[in-house]
């Protein structure tokens, strides 16, 4: 095969994989914005939390590397624990840091979110160290496509990544579209006061939203660790910014928009890594953010007249 085409196809897979975990973070960003109109800058740190807390949980057991036999079942079990813990942490953050500011000007919770992000990062650095931390290589990297191409790679790690993130996205979309609670979330996002008139406890709906958003970011952090094999206390900051860009690109508050935006960012990063040079990727992605904010602030899927919500 033409090596140029092979390199291109490899980057398509890379772009999809970046898009997958960015999407999980962006979903929480956009859901929270949709309902409380807060850009939760601490959201990316839940991703880091998922990375570290899963690392700590694995460390409690004598796990073979790579995983074998019954240990494979530890993956979903630990993922569930990570979702509960990171979702729970996000609920606590909302309760202590954001809810008391519900009636205040929008700037107050925004600044609080930035402060919360710094605080979480400092705590992570204190507990887990400030260096790049290695994540055990539980999942092998044998390339399924070896006979076909040595450049295009598709490994068990990719199966894990796609296998976790894509069902999570579909599940969340169905939940929000179809279920009674999901509809109540959308109702509360569209008109909080009217939702209360229906008997919907809006505080509880907001807590559920933070729980789901935190859980998705946390499990994304765990999958990221398994996928890339390392991470650092500060990484949530950058992933958070990328995910924020993805959410704005798709139309902040819009669930499908967040997923679309995440895959666009993933693709842009993968392609600019190949054709322009990795050092330019951030410049290009954030230029995209600025262009979007200038020319179409409501995003690709957002309506032009009003900001689309959950």
């Amino acid at each position: 095969m033409d090596p140029q085409l092979e390199a291109f196809l490899r980057q398509v897979l890379v772009g999809l994989s970046i898009g997958c975990y960015l999407a999980l973070i962006a979903l929480g960003y956009t859901m929270v914005y949709g309902i409380v109109e807060l850009i939760n800058f601490a959201h990316g740190d839940l991703f880091t939390f998922g990375f570290f807390i899963s690392l700590t949980i694995w460390g409690l057991f004598d796990v073979p590397t790579p995983l074998e036999g019954a240990w494979i079942l530890a993956l979903p079990a630990i993922a569930i624990v990570v979702i509960l813990l990171s979702g729970g942490l996000n609920v606590v953050i909302e309760r202590v840091a954001y809810r008391p500011l519900r009636g205040a000007s929008k700037l107050a919770p925004l600044i609080t979110a930035v402060g919360m992000s710094f605080m979480l990062e400092a705590i992570f650095a204190y507990i887990w160290g400030a260096n790049q931390i290695n994540y055990p290589r539980f999942i092998p990297t044998t390339n399924f496509l070896n006979d076909f191409s040595r450049i295009i790679r598709f490994t068990p790690r990719d199966i894990l990544l796609f296998g976790v993130t894509i069902p999570a996205m579909i599940g969340l979309t169905l939940f929000i579209d179809r279920t009674r609670l999901g509809k109540a979330m959308r109702a509360a996002a569209q008109d909080r006061e009217a939702a209360a008139m229906m008997g919907i406890n809006v505080n509880r709906i907001i807590a559920i939203t933070f729980f789901i958003g935190g859980g998705l970011a946390g499990v994304a952090g765990m999958v990221y660790g398994l996928y890339t094999g390392s991470g650092r206390f500060i990484m949530g900051f950058e992933f958070g910014l990328f995910a924020f860009t993805a959410a704005v690109l798709g139309g902040i508050g819009n669930i499908r928009g967040a997923v679309l935006g995440a895959f666009i960012i993933g693709m842009v990063q993968a392609m600019s890594d190949l054709y322009i040079g990795g050092e330019w990727s951030r410049v290009i992605i954030f230029s995209l953010l600025i262009l979007m904010l200038v020319f179409r602030p409501s995003g690709i899927l957002g309506s032009t007249t009003s900001v689309e919500k959950v």
Binding site: R180, K183, A184, D191, A196, M198, G199, I200
Partner: protein
Amino acid sequence: MTDTPTQGKAPLLHVEDIHSYYGNIHALHGISLDVFEGEIVTLIGSNGAGKSTTIRTISGIMHPRQGAIYLDGAPIHNLPAHTLVAHGIAQSPEGRRIFPRLSVIDNLQMGAFLRRDKAEIQRDIENVYALFPRLKERHRQFAGTLSGGEQQMLAMGRAMMARPRLLLLDEPSMGLAPVLVDQIFEIIKRINTEQGTTILLVEQNALMALEIAARGYVLQSGSIVLSDTGAALLENDMVRKVYLGEVG
């Protein structure tokens, strides 16, 4: 006040000398009113008289700084808004406040949020459709794409889905074409007689409201200045001059 057929019974809703504020602005200066089971009671008055503030205070969106509100004898004035539906109060608020990016049927289901009786909910949806056939035609559409009159029907249907004992209707005729106004009032009367729902109706259209109401209260600058049966208020000189726009 003339005698009414409801005297002697305990009221379903009893509002006692409530004072409500927007920040430091004193909006309600001691409102007292009663609504008895099965009645349509209307609250009329000009713009800014405090009609919507009264409704918002009864429904728990605002809390009175002074005074009390009782539903069936139990105090409700300190309860958060979302708990009042369970007590039997539902409303079609001022400005309709339908959920624009939920479908018509989802809006109706939100009205029944606290109910778990799926079959009964389905039956009530059919009832709402029977009352407002336009909603059935558009049940899959986003509510935001409906016309003003259809949105009003949806807001009323949505409130009925809670099967309230007391239905609060805030300006249901606002911004509607005259032919639709007649239709809406006709339906309000039907909800009251056919389903036995007690209704507190806030209206600027005093004539129409008094025609269907058993009793009425006239609100002026946050105080009740007059109360009587609907028929008597229609004959009242002050009401005729100020609210029915009659000259002389």
